[in-house]
Symmetry: D2
Subunit: 137 residues, 4 copies
């Protein structure tokens, strides 16, 4: 038994993120997921840019967000990103976003990413890249 | 038996919507859903602004997107919005986004909205507002 | 003497456009300028996409906005776009944004665009494209 | 003679920031300016949130950007923010954005902010707040 690999990335909420309800506009959480996912992959020892240079792209096929509690201007949020499920041709990343100061869980969600080559075909990535995701579980 | 009420709203994709993959950035579909939802509610005979002036807010509790085919710069998209499920204290809006020129379905998804009053409490809206959703099914 | 060619494009403000001050977030006006500019060029008889297919790109070199009065949620804004100055290798587009209901001028600004070919070199476009801008003055 | 106070804030470019030209979409630089400005004010010993809690708001009255060289996906940018001019009722913040790896200047610009109270009236802030800007020059 081993511990799941979890990346924790901090982001401070800016005005641009908020809407007139005084809270973060809901679409922006998908950007926070992107930031978390990118840092997660980087922490595994590979930048997403490297991934693309090896002709492996991870477009978003599905996205889901559960908004439990809103975040507000100037909050520091902590995005936890980890592999929810790894298959030969796709990876599901799960997210939990906590309020840094209170440690309360505000948001959960996931994104689903097929592995796609430069022609847009779904493929299993070669071992060098696939193993990085394998060990990242 | 009656036909479901469906609002159809057209949006043209701009540079701001795209990312470096040459397609629409995935978070932006939640904005297209917002535009569709707003026009759907307006078509039912009430602006969302009116809703708020009656102290009924519909924050987003859940959002889901299934990205089947990407949209590109200058595409005209057609957002179909309709009520997926209506409960006393929440409404689920379903979306289908079609490519105007080809009529092909590119995206589906939903957003879930509790009815909330100005103190943030979940409530059943008074009949005048609730009936508008009822007849919008 | 002739009248300046002015494109007038309407946009309705959505939640995504606003921030917690209850008004449109200032960066979003550059998106409204983009929408106005695109429709202006289309009205001249050419889509910006066609422009790109002819290897002429108009990146933004400078942008300026003067925020006189804020816009709010659900406002319909009218973006007036016209050529401020046309040179051999660049075009300056001027913008005025009016509140549709009140006809009051809320925002002015400009963007400056060099004509650039696919290698990123500044060029004078061939006559077919250049003349479209010429007659658009 | 003294050195100007300059805040330097790093931001990593994400997919959401880019457009289909493969570079950062021009409107997003105003968000980078906001991040730099916020950290600049925080470094002076006051959060912008505190500012607002003292009923002093700094809406954006003018914004200008000169795009000299584009930034790309995964670049780390360094936003330099400092006071360009301080008057009794307004402050102009200047920005320079450098590429972290190459140290090359890619972008310059400014934003102009009147001091405004909670009724929207332009005012000189009380000394406690004004002096923070004074010493920040």
């Amino acid at each position: 038994m081993h511990n799941k690999h979890i990346n924790k990335t901090e982001i401070r909420i800016i005005y641009a993120d908020t809407d007139q309800m005084g809270v973060v506009y809901h679409a922006n959480y998908l950007k926070f997921f992107e930031i978390g996912r990118t840092e997660f992959v980087r922490e595994l020892g590979m930048s997403y840019k490297t991934c693309e240079e090896n002709n492996i792209f991870l477009p978003v096929k599905e996205a889901f967000v559960d908004y439990k509690k809103p975040f507000k201007y100037d909050d520091i949020i902590v995005v936890h990103s980890y592999i929810g499920k790894l298959k030969n041709v796709a990876v599901k990343i799960d997210y939990e976003i906590y309020h840094k100061e209170t440690n309360v869980l505000h948001t959960t969600g996931y994104t689903l990413h097929p592995f796609v080559n430069s022609e847009g075909r779904i493929v299993k990535p070669h071992d060098e890249i696939y193993n990085i995701f394998l060990k990242g579980q």
